[in-house]
């Protein structure tokens, strides 16, 4: 159990625990915050595995943007700040969720444990450096990169179109005026 292994296990435990709390918490804001902790821990894990850029992107995009968005969404949907039991699905659904969660996790863990049994590997620090990632993205993965830009554009246009403000009592099939103004 070398130094990085120790660090990895620590970060892994932190990520898993905070993830679990994020998912089972009864206070909405706490869930969001635990999510931040979990994603942060993951960034750490990436660093240990030598993926610098990925760690940075993780921090930047996930922790920075995504979680903030989630918190905004929670606030906009006036989610109850105080602990409420209405967050979890009804009994049957929860049971199914547990079963599904355990089975997905279990089968993945089983396969991976079977495959990676005591496999140790020397981490190449600078494999994940910006230079290599840059060259890789712009040589081998140019097409997905370009496609990604189309995806982002489409997602944003969709988000904007969908969230254009809604007239007070919206009846399905009611047509908006050209500029989408409120009647």
């Amino acid at each position: 159990m070398s130094g990085p292994d120790l660090l990895l296990t620590a970060l892994a435990l932190l990520a898993a625990a905070s993830g679990l709390l994020a998912v089972t918490g009864s206070r909405v804001v706490h869930c969001a915050l635990w999510l931040v902790v979990s994603l942060g821990a993951l960034a750490g894990v990436y660093l240990v595995l030598g993926a610098e850029v990925v760690a940075l992107v993780q921090l930047l995009v996930y922790v920075g943007a995504v979680v903030v968005l989630v918190i905004f969404a929670l606030m906009l949907t006036r989610a109850p700040v105080e602990p409420s039991d209405r967050l979890d699905a009804p009994k049957g659904q929860k049971l199914a969720a547990v079963v599904a969660g355990i089975s997905v996790g279990g089968i993945l863990a089983g396969t991976l444990i079977y495959a990676l049994q005591d496999l140790t590997v020397k981490v190449q620090g600078e494999q994940g450096s910006a230079r290599n990632i840059g060259r890789a993205v712009f040589s081998g993965w140019l097409l997905p990169f370009e496609l990604l830009s189309v995806l982002l554009l489409a997602a944003l246009v969709a988000a904007i179109a969908v969230s254009r403000h809604l007239p007070a009592e919206k009846r399905p099939g009611q047509s908006l005026t050209e500029d989408g103004g409120v009647q």
Partner: protein
């Protein structure tokens, strides 16, 4: 064989623009639409630009098909090796040949690609025309943008030959569609969008886990590379991980074709979404799903045939039977159509269950699937066209039940003739010869591989499906007392109706196109 357009950026591979035309055209159109919307949003202009984008893409496909040579682009062969002066982190030992290190091409224009793209574009043009005047088209710009994005994703998916492009293309084909569903901003649309969104995200998670496992096992994302690694009888560990990865990936794609365990979003989303978008989902999105499955399983994982073929057989049987059984009980037209597409998904995927290990076996199976898909898409478009027309003229709008079709043959002989003919095609009974030939094409590999239980289930499902298709046709010819108003047929809808009907008749007479796709190797 790379054509050279950029060359300025060091190390950036020359992208073969012609090969990528079917993907680039919709994107360019998309940008133009946004530009026009910013400058002066004039409805006919927007329609025109979108249509032009799709037609150029179709032209590109036609050109590539006629040219006949196989083009591959966005490849990373020789980039790192060939670029002088660039020192990679660890320069590749000269002894290694490119194929050793996991290189390959992200995008390949082969018969499979062109057929997939052709089907997608035909369906997209149909859906666009339906959406021009149909419900949910008020917000013209957003609608067209999202539609073009979906088409770009679907066409890219057909050509994707590595898992990264496959994933991104799949998401590009799904996310805008979710946007389209929610575009009408009403409660129905929102719920439908949420349903599809959650299913899509869960499936994306599964797909990515699958890709992670496959990457762990084979060390590369290129499908050709994965196929080679798995073909050279890897050891037990690699095989187990690869199979797990393959299954997760297949599950991830399942929702798009609406195979049984992953189909539950279909009826709710079709009912909630505007009709043209439902048409889009049932044709473009399903075509994209099938091409993804064909690419992933046919090109990437033929070696694991023993794992996925029987399972696809089971899924196909379950999908057919469940789809037909529930469809029998449906009264609302669009829900019946949703369940009918679920049942047809079973038929589309049926040949894959009998692909056999030989390269030729897989090719024939994929060819059969694509053949059936083509027949299904054309017939589906015709049915949707008529349903949209009825929705527009019926007081219950999109929620109209089958009763709205009672006695339609009296007032609208042409439209009901097209609907009856299309339903006969979907049922696979003459006069719908196209459907019959498609069913023969689909059943041939299954019978050839002697999968008797599957073949018998499929045969029984012919009758089950026939039950509700005939019930619908019978309503058309029934006599009714209330007078249905004459229809005012808009040009766009006329084109779709005529085009789809011509397609059905054409494919019935020239049924060779259904049976003879993918003549040479599956690449």
């Amino acid at each position: 064989m790379l054509t050279d357009i950029t060359g300025t950026l060091t190390g950036v591979p020359r992208i073969d623009a012609v090969a990528l035309l079917p993907v680039i055209a919709p994107v360019v159109a998309l940008l133009l639409v946004l530009l026009i919307d910013a400058v002066r949003p004039v409805k006919p202009l927007l329609n025109l630009v979108t249509l032009a984008g799709l037609l150029t893409a179709a032209g590109g496909v036609a050109y590539l098909a006629l040219e006949g040579t196989e083009r591959s682009t966005a490849c990373s062969i020789g980039v790192v090796v060939g670029t002088a002066g660039l020192s990679g982190p660890s320069p590749l030992p000269e002894s290694l040949s490119p194929s050793d290190v996991g290189f390959g091409c992200s995008y390949l224009v082969s018969d499979l690609t062109l057929t997939g793209q052709a089907i997608v574009l035909v369906a997209a043009i149909g859906c666009l025309l339906l959406a021009l005047d149909g419900p949910g088209a008020e917000d013209r710009t957003a609608h067209h943008t999202l539609l073009l994005a979906t088409v770009a994703g679907a066409t890219a998916l057909a050509g994707a030959r590595d898992l990264a492009t496959l994933t991104v293309a799949l998401e590009t084909a799904t996310l805008p569609a979710i946007g389209l569903i929610a575009l009408r901003r009403d409660a129905q649309g929102a719920q439908a969008a949420v349903t599809l969104l959650l299913t899509a995200i869960a499936s994306l998670g599964l797909l990515l886990l699958g890709i992670g496992l496959l990457f762990l096992a084979t060390g590369s994302l290129y499908l050709s590379r994965i196929a080679d690694v798995l073909a050279s009888d890897p050891d037990e560990k690699v095989l187990v991980v690869a199979v797990a990865g393959a299954m997760f990936a297949l599950a991830g794609i399942g929702f798009k074709i609406s195979l049984v365990p992953f189909h539950q979003w279909t009826p709710d989303t079709y009912a909630g979404a505007p009709l043209p978008v439902a048409a889009l989902l049932s044709t473009v999105s399903k075509a994209a799903g099938l091409t993804a499955a064909a690419v992933l399983l046919g090109i990437g994982l033929p070696a694991l045939h023993d794992a996925w073929a029987p399972l696809i057989g089971v899924l196909a049987a379950l999908t057919m039977t469940a789809g037909n059984l529930v469809a029998l009980r449906q009264q609302v037209a669009v829900r019946l159509l949703a369940w009918s597409t679920v049942a047809q998904a079973g038929w589309v995927v049926l040949p894959l269950a009998a692909s056999g290990t030989t390269r030729d076996g897989v090719r024939e199976a994929v060819a059969a699937s694509l053949g059936y898909l083509l027949a299904y898409v054309v017939a589906g478009l015709a049915v949707f066209a008529v349903v949209v027309l009825v929705a527009r003229h019926h007081r219950a709008g999109e929620e109209h039940t089958l009763e709205a079709y009672r006695g339609l043959a009296r007032t609208e002989p042409v439209a009901s003739a097209v609907l009856a003919f299309a339903l006969a095609c979907l049922a696979g009974l003459p006069p719908g010869v196209m459907g019959l030939i498609a069913k023969v094409v689909a059943l041939r590999p299954v019978v050839d591989a002697q999968l008797w239980p599957l073949a018998v289930v499929a045969a029984l499902n012919v009758a089950l499906a026939l039950a509700y298709y005939l019930r619908w046709t019978a309503l058309l010819l029934a006599t009714t007392d209330q007078a249905t108003p004459r229809w005012r047929l808009r040009p766009a809808e006329g084109i779709v109706l005529g085009g789809a009907a011509a397609g059905c008749v054409g494919l019935s007479i020239g049924a060779g196109t259904i049976a003879g796709l993918l003549p040479d190797l599956l690449r």
